[in-house]
Symmetry: C2
Subunit: 427 residues, 2 copies
């Protein structure tokens, strides 16, 4: 079962918006055994959309569109689809009711353009959108399904998760083939060295199990994908006999544990769980608490941790000590340490970590200080120089890093490295 995603909107093509919808949708489709063969981003233009629909229809069984459903003049997807599938727009009472409810809830006046959101093509199944005014639409033509969803991410996620995915599972229930993934998260080893290390296992993979290396700042994820009868996105031919999810899963497990044996030293998780979540789970099991004392990462480590639901069991808080004054006043870093060794030094981060343990009253702490650029570098401490410390009530461990990249990457790398250090420290 092959799907394609078409995202509609000039904002992606001029680079003002990053398309996060497609990755989310692709992940959900994969989970139910629908392979995404292509993702296409096009502008808000009827002729271009019609052409994209023609091309996608030649390749895929399911075409999901996002975007172009807003109430303003630059959104023309609904009209285009209505015409393409030969229908006409009619007022939909339930959608109108929903639009009115949303507006009354936020005490905003209802405008003509909002009323038009309640007009839908008479040849589609309407997917009611409780989070916004634009409904989703489900069209069928020549055995293919075409779905149009709003581009606002949480509206799209609500509609797709609650309605579209279950409807697709039902509609194609006899044709869905298993696709299974297994991910190993590694830190402390480069992509090519890791590949040499696991080569003995990789060379034994059957043609329907595929290994991918997914590098991210500070880590490489190894993803094994096992495919059922259908052709895969990357053209790997699956074995004829392998069709049941159970069989496939058993095989996948065997190959994953071979790779695991070879790379064990570097593996920090056997599922695609964010590193902060792995750490939170581990500390929660042991009833321990955590805080951060951040200079160069400016609160980003705390953000990564608190983005995980339920972080408050473990995470007490953070002092973002961007200025030296706060390093001493709130974390108790000695002024002499700061003058003598500088803010980016083993001594400073060690005192920051110890200070966080004491002043925030926690069991573990992460501290970091570095030069994120573009300014502030020197011959001695160039941009990318970072000191990280992790500590418990008795020990402090500090390490120096020399990262490359620009400011956003440096912040990201520092955060991941710090979390990696804590992970190994807690072990």
């Amino acid at each position: 079962m092959l799907a394609e995603i078409i995202t509609i909107g000039d904002e992606i093509l001029i680079g003002q918006v990053i398309d996060s919808n497609s990755a989310w949708l692709a992940g959900r489709l994969n989970e139910v055994g629908i392979t995404v063969g292509q993702i296409t981003s096009i502008g808000d233009d009827p002729a271009v959309l019609e052409n994209a629909l023609e091309e996608a229809s030649r390749r895929a069984d399911i075409i999901i569109m996002t975007g172009g459903l807003g109430p303003t003049k630059d959104d023309r997807t609904k009209q285009t689809l209505c015409g393409y599938f030969g229908g006409k727009l009619v007022l939909h009472e339930k959608v109108l009711e929903n639009v009115k409810t949303i507006f009354s809830r936020s005490n905003r006046p209802l405008l003509d353009s909002n009323m038009r959101q309640a007009e839908v093509p008479d040849n589609c199944r309407v997917l009611l959108n409780s989070q916004g005014t634009a409904p989703g639409m489900w069209f069928e033509k020549e055995g293919r399904v075409y779905i149009s969803l709003p581009g606002v991410p949480f509206e799209m996620m609500g509609l797709a998760g609650e309605q579209v995915i279950p409807m697709l599972k039902e509609y194609f229930r006899d044709r869905l083939e298993p696709v299974l993934h297994k991910t190993l998260v590694t830190t402390g080893i480069g992509e090519s060295f890791l590949a040499e290390l696991v080569a003995p296992a990789e060379n034994f993979l059957p043609p329907y199990i595929h290994l991918a290396y997914l590098p991210r700042p500070g880590m490489v994820r190894l993803r094994l994908s096992a495919y059922g009868k259908e052709l895969t996105a990357s053209g790997n031919k699956p074995a004829e006999g392998i069709v049941s999810a159970l069989q496939l899963e058993k095989e996948l497990d065997i190959h994953a544990s071979r790779i695991m044996e070879l790379a064990e030293k570097y593996v920090i998780a056997t599922e695609d769980t964010p590193v902060p979540e792995i750490i939170l789970n581990r500390l929660r099991e042991r009833g321990r608490t955590l805080a951060t004392a951040e200079s160069c990462t400016g609160g980003y480590i705390a953000h990564l941790i608190t983005a995980i639901p339920g972080a408050s069991d473990v995470f007490s808080g953070s002092v973002v000590a961007y200025s030296n004054k706060i390093k001493s006043s709130l974390l108790g870093v000695n002024d002499i340490t700061l003058t003598h060794f500088g803010a980016v030094s083993r001594e400073t981060v060690s005192e920051m970590a110890a200070g966080a343990i004491e002043r925030l009253g926690v069991d573990y702490a992460i501290a970091c200080s570095g030069i994120m650029g573009p300014g502030g570098g020197s011959a001695d401490k160039p941009v990318g120089t970072v000191w990280i410390a992790v500590a418990d009530k008795e020990h402090v461990q500090a390490e120096k890093f020399s990262f490359s990249g620009r400011r956003p990457q440096l912040i990201e790398r520092t955060a991941i490295a710090a979390l990696g250090m804590l992970f190994h420290f807690v072990e």
Copy 2:
């Protein structure tokens, strides 16, 4: 001048990675007058790539590919392109030297797979990549340019920014047409209400100037785009006579100021500058300092601020008071306030903001506390309930918000609303 971007890699199609490269590239291309007509994501499969190249060649003059250049077996772009353009792989001395330098810098052993990174097609111009081992490649065929770049974002950005964009400007110097954008950032007004408000100006736009509404959590950006002679991504026909950038800019300015007049009350910036940067610039001009006291946003506001280069002039730091204990110990919130009114209340956030001003020694502070879900909501204070306070040394202003969405959106919305409140407070 029309370009297309092709991103290569199964990781996007299975939803494990969000394609941030395309938006960045599209933005840079637009700046130099190259319109991006389509972005396509495909798997690591030679036949699929060749087909995508054929389709893109029928529409565009420039085809930029990212990804599929890693040293491991799942990356096959280089071989595919070499064959597609009829060349053969040869060892490139300078690339080899670069690979060796990178490995010696990080004290890692050089492997066979890394050595193969130094093999390049003999029919391309090699773009040396100082940030990584995979070089970029520039092919030409029948007047079209095909560029292959690594998928690692900062390597891609380095190569594109320093080499590809200048080379494209030079190569197509006689054919580049002006494309100009102007953005107004608004807060405090919904998309459709904003559209009604600016309708009198929008109705007077010539066909070659296009207005788009770009909603983001807590704000709507209005983007005016003016196109030169070329066809636009969205098929808006530009006026024949309008070709000079100067003429176009003048027209754009007139229409932008008409819209500005109508929406003035809601506009917080007249360029597409991140809100934290607008605030930092304003406070810097006045020699003021800022701190945050964050509960529910967990350091995200501090992160948004410190992501801006040079934030340290203005931003002193933050206390992420995730636990109540830290709200009182580090920010001086009265225990009675916490027990009597709760952590999510006007009283608590007001004391947090005042505490931040005093304890972090700053002129302005933002404080927030709320229920981000999925757990923790009650009938009285459901998930999405947020209190935000902004303060200077004399005044505190607090406001209650009821946001909708899931946890990541709630964190984002709270942060943007808090920054918006501070913006108006400082005015």
